[in-house]
């Protein structure tokens, strides 16, 4: 530890009280409700904001000191990684595709979280909650920046990393994470906290940052593991904010309980659907694996989340409605998602591939009741086709769920051979859903979800072509026009990993024979 720890004159609890209370004020010439219009309109009743305690009791002075130390450590590692050409030491160039998806789909969420917490930090009348939200807002901005800096090194050497921000607002599969956060930040401030601090940060982020980052370490990527753990160390504080927020809401007034329960049901399911991308990254995109999605789900969702919901039962809170279906999905979702991306990778800004025999054996061992039975035959068929020069790319557009925006590839609970479809009629229009839980979310707030920006609908309506594009000309190729609008470099950013520039370059830099030519 290179920073001297000074002896505090006040104890931790007294210092926290001194630095987080009495910072607010009662307005005089405008009514408080006009200055703080949002912290009552959701129906949540708060009687005593002073009951809000940050369990870590972190104050701004300590926050800057420890965050400063984390930054110094992080940038030392990133710099050493770059100087040492660390990108050549990763297990396999296929691994980089997980980083592409991370930069495209996760990093922009950090920025949304920054905006969301800045907003709620302004809107709460309680000072303790405002201080906690303010620190989290700064943390999230830091994550956005450190992830961008760490991954920019890879952008010098690999395709698919040069345009993440442009893609986040346009590319079809990135509407999944984008819609999650846009839904959250357009809720009220308490819904935002239950969505992001509790359901996402507390119940679900361990699944993203812990096993995946451990996987990054295992694959030789010290740069990523360091930004991942540095971000997750902030998440520990965010998780305490999430659990404190739930406890606080439930203890303030019994009328809050059903409102909070409904949000838990909704946001657990939305977060779970979002993590489909992570399940796939973990099972298919890490050449050297640490644990399967299923094992991570059992450790962090079933055991840890289960402990939490057992504890919250004293307030009358039950586990989320979609809990059982989510637990059943642990055997399926990574395989179903990878299959979809394999088919659509002409239109994605990363590469896909069929796992090697050794990798399929690992998947069979981890998924003893589903992989060989349901998913291996399909992958082996793809490989046969690919080796015969008939690599298949789907050029049609998949139907999307109107709520989670994931293509409708999930299967029925209890029946993994049948795709799950649900629909609702609202004001003369049909809306489609991947599950009972997404349908319930829509039916509860149809006015909100009819506004969803669904990429497939937008493409069909002609809203995803560059200005001046004429779709009526002879020989018009809609996919080519969409990819041009996305600014995806066709032939470099997309298609199979086999034969890609990334594969060839990596082998050349390392002096390896290309795969397939090895003895």
């Amino acid at each position: 530890m290179d920073t001297r720890v000074t002896k505090k004159k006040l104890g931790l609890k007294d210092r926290y009280a001194a630095m987080t209370r009495g910072l607010g004020w009662e307005t005089s010439y405008q009514p408080m409700d006009k200055v703080f219009p949002y912290d009552k309109y959701e129906g949540i009743k708060i009687h005593d904001w002073d009951q809000w305690q940050d369990p870590f009791r972190l104050t701004m002075d300590a926050y800057w000191k420890y965050q400063g130390e984390k930054e110094k450590k992080l940038y030392a590692v990133i710099e050493a990684f770059a100087q040492n050409n660390g990108q050549l030491g990763v297990s396999d160039a296929r691994y980089i595709n997980a980083l592409k998806l991370f930069l495209q789909g996760v990093t922009p969420l950090e920025y949304y979280a920054h905006r969301g917490f800045a907003h709620v930090g302004r809107q709460f009348t309680g000072e303790g909650a405002r201080v906690a939200a303010q620190m989290q807002s700064i943390d999230e901005l830091r994550h956005y920046q450190t992830e961008t800096h760490a991954l920019s090194h890879y952008n010098k050497y690999f395709n698919g990393l040069h345009n993440a921000h442009h893609w986040f607002d346009r590319v079809w599969y990135l509407s999944v994470p984008k819609s999650f956060f846009e839904d959250a930040i357009t809720g009220g401030p308490f819904e935002f906290l239950v969505a992001v601090s509790f359901s996402f940060e507390y119940v679900l982020t361990n699944l993203l940052f812990v096993p995946f980052m451990s996987g990054a370490a295992h694959n030789g990527d010290m740069s990523t593991v360091t930004f991942g753990f540095s971000a997750q160390s902030d998440e520990s504080r965010h998780m305490t904010l999430g659990i404190e927020c739930i406890k606080f809401l439930l203890e303030q007034d019994p009328a809050n309980v059903p409102i909070v329960q409904k949000w838990i049901d909704k946001w657990f399911w939305r977060g779970y659907r979002l993590l489909t991308l992570v399940a796939m990254m973990q099972d298919y995109m890490l050449p050297k694996r640490v644990m399967s999605w299923k094992e991570a789900w059992e450790m962090y969702a079933e055991q840890n989340g289960g402990a939490l919901f057992k504890d919250l039962a004293r307030y009358g809170i039950r586990e989320p409605k979609g809990w059982k279906d989510a637990c059943e999905g642990k055997d399926h979702i990574s395989h179903q998602a990878w299959n979809t991306f394999y088919n659509y990778s002409a239109a994605a800004a990363f590469h896909t591939w069929v796992p090697t025999d050794e990798e399929m054996d690992w998947l069979a061992e981890k998924y003893p009741t589903t992989f060989n039975q349901l998913y291996r035959p399909r992958l082996e068929h793809y490989r046969t086709q690919q080796q015969a020069g008939k690599r298949f790319y789907s050029k049609t557009l998949p139907m999307l769920c109107n709520v989670c925006q994931v293509p409708m590839f999930f299967t029925e609970p209890g029946d993994a051979a049948t795709i799950c479809y649900r629909e609702s009629d609202w004001r003369g229009n049909q809306h489609h859903f991947c599950s009972d839980h997404c349908k319930e979310i829509f039916d509860d707030e149809p006015e909100k979800y009819v506004q969803s920006w669904l990429p497939v609908h937008q493409i069909y309506q002609g809203n995803c072509f560059d200005p001046g594009t004429d779709p009526t000309v002879e020989g018009f190729d809609p996919l080519a026009a969409v990819l041009k609008h996305y600014q995806i470099n066709v032939g470099a950013d997309n298609f199979d990993f086999e034969g890609s520039q990334d594969q060839k370059n990596f082998a050349a830099w390392r002096g390896d024979a290309p795969r397939g030519e090895q003895a």
């Binding site: 870590f56 984390k70 940052f209 812990v210 096993p211 980052m213 451990s214 520990s236 402990a307």
Partner: protein
């Protein structure tokens, strides 16, 4: 009975923390995975400043653990001398 857990980056700064936790919590189970050390314990786990200081022979401010902390679960009770994670129900 449910487990609580805490995880740290696997490095030299975390080592005395992990040693102190093992010394103070006989039911704690240490699990290593790449880059990470995770400690599980049934219902309750306590980190005591005094034990860390005995391990290192140097003063320690418990808030320093934020620098190497990765994740945790359970309710937190922290003051200058200890940090406890627990499930109460």
């Amino acid at each position: 009975m449910s487990n609580v857990f805490i995880a740290f980056q696997h490095n030299e700064e975390s080592r005395p923390l992990v040693d102190a936790i093992v010394a103070d919590n006989p039911t704690a189970v240490v699990v290593h995975s790449p880059g990470l050390v995770k400690i599980d314990a049934p219902n309750r786990l306590q980190i005591r400043r005094a034990t860390i200081e005995e391990q290192t022979g140097r003063p320690y401010d418990l808030q320093q653990l934020h620098v190497n902390l990765v994740t945790l679960s359970g309710y937190i009770d922290e003051d200058d001398d200890q940090l406890t994670l627990s499930w109460t129900h």
